[in-house]
Symmetry: C2
Subunit: 480 residues, 2 copies
């Protein structure tokens, strides 16, 4: 059997919806509130493994986990004017408690900069307490007016990991943004997710930021998806809230801040990018089940009993070795039905055990990603599985990066970009003079969105709009 990625790429949207539902990951569109989903048990485990991964990376780098209230009073949200402008059209408001009208409207947090800055001003008063790095993993809410899509554009983002840091100087905060970029790079690498890191253009930075660095990937349909952002907030919020910190020389000043976030989109991307026509292929780094053991029925009962016992032993060998495995030994489904079921759940390795394996004291291993199989001696099973898992992990990332790189193309003229993005999608890079006018013109001409520019400027070529010498490249794509 050969891997086919026909349906996966040619009708990604349908593929994705079907996988979420059939693999019992995320029930979307049936709960009677628009734009929210339900995490089902299998999906919850995938999500939890991804959360544990980012938690570990953040804990290792001195971030401290906290939990802030969901409700943000209107006056607090309005403290930073740029910020509220960026969000106010999308805020859900609580206006009633029981039968009473509330005196002050309460926002369901769209993000937590103001709430956290408010508490920081009570907690962190002296320079010796800085730098400080907090994070929380919570639901945030956006009253989206655009078309919603499961996990990708929702009204309740259930997996919003937001980090918030405080520093004495602009430079330290800038370094923190670099650390965030490193952490996210490591995180996406562990998930085998390819990305471009861009500095968002001035006209599309976070509301209330000095600048925004963003991670974008490409979905199978060729549209770019923002999967992580890191913002240098400067003194915007601390000034707006009149929050000062005492310095070593006993004077005081507004501290600098950063914030950076990822969301449910990471889960969507892991599922989407490694897929094929059989469903998703979960990277071993986060798969809830690494190996599914499927007994192939024997003709006589005695062999069948031995075979099941063999399968049980294999299962317990794997579990003792710390390899999460499941034995699917029920009689109610045929092996074929079981294959389908576990392929749809993206389990990296299938271990088949039939009469032949019983005779030869072997197990037949099948890789979910390549659909290739091989026979392994029982006493070599654990190392063989470990090696295969490592190979799958590596190969998934390599294939995803290869797909990705093929679709990031440089153009010297706007017509080429237009044609490219409307035909296949992808990300186009063009030379750019650096002016907002020309940047917006690019968006208008190609009917797509500017993602921004590389962090290390590339001054080659001439601006595709005005023809002046380029100051940097501009990346542009159709986006979600």
């Amino acid at each position: 059997m050969k891997v086919s990625r026909q349906k996966w790429s040619s009708n990604f949207s349908e593929w994705f919806d079907r996988v979420l539902s059939e693999a019992e990951i995320y029930d979307y569109g049936r709960y009677p509130v628009k734009g929210v989903g339900v995490w089902m048990p299998y999906g919850f485990k995938i999500r939890q493994n991804i959360i544990n991964l980012i938690r570990r990376l953040l804990d290792e780098t001195g971030h401290e986990e906290v939990l802030f209230p969901l409700l943000v009073p209107e006056d607090l949200l309005r403290k930073e004017s740029e910020h509220v402008k960026g969000f106010e059209r999308e805020v859900f408001w609580v206006t009633k408690g029981g039968e009473e009208e509330l005196e002050l409207k309460l926002a369901l947090r769209p993000t937590s900069e103001v709430a956290i800055t408010f508490m920081e001003s009570l907690w962190l008063k002296g320079y010796s307490q800085l730098p400080k790095k907090f994070y929380q993993i919570v639901s945030v809410f956006r009253y989206e007016t655009k078309a919603t899509r499961p996990m990708i554009r929702v009204r309740e983002l259930t997996t919003f990991k937001e980090a918030h840091t405080v520093h004495m100087t602009y430079e330290e905060a800038a370094k923190q943004v670099e650390e965030a970029v490193q952490i996210y790079s490591k995180f996406f690498d562990t998930l085998g997710i390819p990305y471009l890191i861009s500095r968002r253009p001035e006209w599309d930075k976070f509301a209330g930021a000095e600048y925004t660095i963003a991670f974008d990937t490409l979905m199978p349909d060729g549209r770019a998806l923002q999967i992580g952002t890191a913002h240098h907030l400067g003194q915007h919020f601390t000034k707006a809230m009149d929050y000062k910190v005492t310095k070593a020389d006993n004077t005081s000043d507004y501290p600098h801040q950063t914030s950076y976030g990822i969301s449910d989109r990471v889960v969507a991307t892991v599922i989407a990018l490694h897929g094929d026509d059989h469903g998703p292929v979960l990277p071993p780094s986060i798969a809830p089940v690494l190996v599914v053991i499927i007994p192939i029925p024997a003709k006589d009962e005695q062999t069948q009993a031995k075979l099941l016992e063999f399968a049980r032993q294999i299962n317990s060998t794997l579990n003792s070795a710390g390899i999460s495995s499941v034995l699917d030994g029920s009689d109610e489904r045929t092996p074929g039905e079981k294959y389908y079921y576990w392929e749809m759940r993206g389990v990296p390795i299938r271990a088949e055990i039939g009469p032949r394996e019983l005779d030869n004291d072997t197990v037949f291993l099948k890789r979910r990603d390549t659909l290739e199989g091989k026979s392994v001696k029982r006493d070599e099973l654990v190392p063989a599985i470990r090696e295969t898992l490592a190979t799958i992990q590596k190969d998934l990332a390599e294939r995803a990066w290869r797909d990705f790189k093929e679709r990031v193309k440089r153009f010297e003229d706007i017509q080429g970009v237009k044609k490219y993005l409307s035909e296949r999608g992808g990300i186009a890079e063009v030379p750019w003079c650096g002016s907002e006018t020309c940047g917006l013109k690019v968006e208008e001409e190609v009917q797509a969105r500017v993602l921004g520019s590389p962090l290390i400027p590339n001054g080659e070529g001439k601006c595709v709009i005005c023809g002046r010498g380029a100051k940097n490249s501009l990346r542009v794509a159709k986006t979600y």
Copy 2:
């Protein structure tokens, strides 16, 4: 130094507020929304360890974790009429998205019976899929009109673990309630929290339940606190939502349900019950730090350097042994200040290392609960600490149970109850005829609340109100 519990018991409320703030557990009353708190890093870790404990117990017993939306549409919440009556005065309502009025008000979930039943009706259609046990750990919201108190009576309960199960018959659901009671018993036992298990009276059962079983403990001020409940929901919700399941004989029927929950109150109780005048004493089962190592400064620099190196080795020995420890080696605070700091954080064991310990190759261990110290040879340190932790764990539970049992008293007349509850607090048990009239009369007479009755009826004595023969005991207490 002797353990004193004077301040702890005589002014518990002040003690509790001070501990939450000084130990940096939970910032309450400063965030500008009434009745909500902020989990600070140390408190977050305590909370997380408690969550991990209940997660493990639920996973082991076949519960599957899920995540449902926060928002419940008004018409869905109104499906079960008893239920909504019980909650509607306490519901926060979202009525606006951006500038738009929503067509249908959305409730911030006060609990999730209706939301979960709605999805179960889509997921679980045949008897072979039952029983099914879900749980989630989420924030729920109550627009409390009573005085709020940190963790104990809040408007955002951030640590609401709610389990929801579906069964084919009434009896199976009743058995599930028993399982829930067993799980919670184990959970509270691991936390050293004493409790009484009562069947709540008819007039105080969960809104929409057949019956409610509750766990109550006593706070140091003698008031009872409900810390867990399990409800047999019968077919109330499935009938209200017209949710039927196909049975083996191909007919169909409304399934039976249960739900059971615990909240932030568990964290409050762990902190409150094991405290003394120095602060809380965390049970080793959930303490984020088990051992704090404090070097006692030497007079000369050379000894000091050796001493610090010794302390570092001890720290790494403990960490290698899987014992979570912290070395507080900073020069900025005196040992006395450090003692105070870590006692206030309830760390079970303090390991002091000074010139004498260096000379003798020993470590001086001090128990947080008894404040007793002893010298331990370095090569016996790990087993000694393991043993001491186990002893502390056991002793904390025993002391808490002893305190608790002393305050649960049986009375044969209502005057005794009245006097007892108004003087010291505690729980009073009286003989009861079983009638609601007499039950409510007890509440009125003693100005306290009926907790309910033992699960195994105790028919001794005569009803304290009407004098008829008792059918069971009635438990009554001043409550939170």
